[in-house]
Symmetry: C2
């Protein structure tokens, strides 16, 4: 039997925590990468004890083990793009900074997971938050905080889109090369994108569902996958917003709390794209059209 090796897809590394219920963290990232015809690898920063009802406890990976995982991967595999999520503590954040300094990556998407959306468990210690804001931020090509994370990293209080925009500008001044402030938890689900030049408010209706477990991780991973597949920043963010919106619409009723998204909704409802490198260009969802806001 002959061997029909598949063409090598873009390879993304996620550095994040593991969520046993598979909705968030590394499982969500790997599913999102696969749904975009990318190949995902992963370094585990923490094991969370978690269900759809929230994070009960976290078991942070020792820094030496995190470093060993990263070294083994980097020695072996040509990594295009890095996506960073939960780090656990300052020691692991420092390992990641060192890793980024010794590698060359097309894109580094930093999704600063600081607190669990559900239940509010700490995903990063205070020293880690400081290190993230002062050091990791500068090493990212894109940072994607939600409102609470943007507040923590800027000291601003964010109650409306104008304040989201101010936070995006401030994070840029603090060293981020591009910023998406995720407004998924706001009433209108508007996201703000700032690349140092243009400031865009991306509209979106809030979907009537509690099944949004892992939507923040998924959005950031989808942006990373689109960037790794060659899209420009604006297009990557818009396509990712469409993707996460549809994956939330098709979410599963699993567990007693916030259910997970259907990361593979495209495969479940329409013919799959042909070829491994092709990223589907579905028509932009009307809600995801950019609206220049100021």
């Amino acid at each position: 039997m002959s061997n029909h090796v598949s063409p090598t897809p873009p390879i993304l590394l996620t550095i994040a925590g593991f969520d046993p219920c598979g909705g968030a963290g590394i499982a969500a990232d790997l599913k999102t990468f696969a749904a975009h015809n990318c190949y995902g690898i992963a370094a585990v920063t923490a094991l969370t004890v978690q269900s759809t009802q929230g994070v009960k406890s976290t078991h942070i990976t020792p820094a030496a083990t995190l470093r060993a995982q990263l070294d083994a991967l980097a020695e072996d595999i040509a990594i295009s793009t890095v996506k960073i999520g939960m780090l656990g503590n300052r020691a692991n954040a420092a390992v990641v900074a060192e890793f980024l300094d010794h590698g060359k990556f097309a894109h580094v998407v930093l999704d600063p997971a600081v607190k669990a959306s559900l239940g509010g468990a700490d995903l990063l210690d205070a020293g880690g938050v400081k290190f993230l804001s002062e050091e990791l931020l500068k090493r990212a090509t894109l940072i994607t905080p939600n409102i609470a994370e943007a507040e923590l990293m800027t000291g601003l209080e964010i109650r409306d889109v104008a304040a989201m925009e101010a936070a995006a500008r401030k994070l840029f001044e603090q060293g981020a090369r591009a910023v998406v402030v995720k407004g998924g938890h706001m009433e209108k689900a508007i996201d703000v994108l700032f690349d140092g030049t243009e400031l865009l408010a991306l509209g979106g209706d809030r979907i009537k569902t509690e099944n949004t477990h892992g939507s923040g991780c998924t959005f950031a991973s989808a942006i990373a996958a689109q960037l790794a597949s060659g899209r420009g920043l604006h297009e990557a963010v818009l396509l990712a917003k469409t993707y996460v919106t549809k994956a939330i619409e098709r979410s599963f009723v699993i567990g007693k709390g916030a259910g997970p998204l259907d990361h593979f909704y495209r495969f479940h409802q329409e013919p799959a794209p042909r070829g491994t490198h092709e990223v589907p260009q579905h028509g932009l969802h009307p809600a995801a059209e950019p609206a220049t806001h100021r």
Copy 2:
């Protein structure tokens, strides 16, 4: 915007180690479940430091953390089927036995990961192997050792299909309700299935590739997914053999060693099935036709 929740798919739990390069362990299991339109959740028994070139070290999850992960999942989510892979040590094997005793699962597929195929790193300590052979075995509805694992669990030396069949019978006598001895590492890639009544040798040509990283995990997970989707044992094993064969044929050249399978080859080459519960009924690969062997 209305909410189009997806129908709840069969839910499978994998209890296994984490492989950072994504080819084996939990990542392979979750991808396999998703490729079969099932939803996967996971409890992490160990973090491995691993690349396509082999396992460098393993960091076993403390038993209390493994138990906490399992309890959080079982309290929250209706689990159909459990798939067990790398356990690390006896303490974790005992946690899993206790978990199985307190739950009701349609199927329990035990894939006894004892040694890494590449490099031979220990994935289970000696006490764990004994516990597996004497205790866990009895709690499984199906056990899927490869040749080396079947040798270790039976004390038999296995050099041919007849010896594989003898090992399958012996494992049944030791308490397994059904056995698949995986011959993927043999020259002809024949698998032996014994359910206590019928003994089948399932033929298959060995595919000319080194990219078989995680094929054992994937085969066992695919069987579990087919069982959870309602197939009988024989059909589940045949469909899983077809799946893993095609996923190996479409494997990726990633890393310097044994590359990973393309778990989503179906989505990459043909229209996806409609509906979440539907498991694709591709024509059986000729190599996967059953041949009654004695």
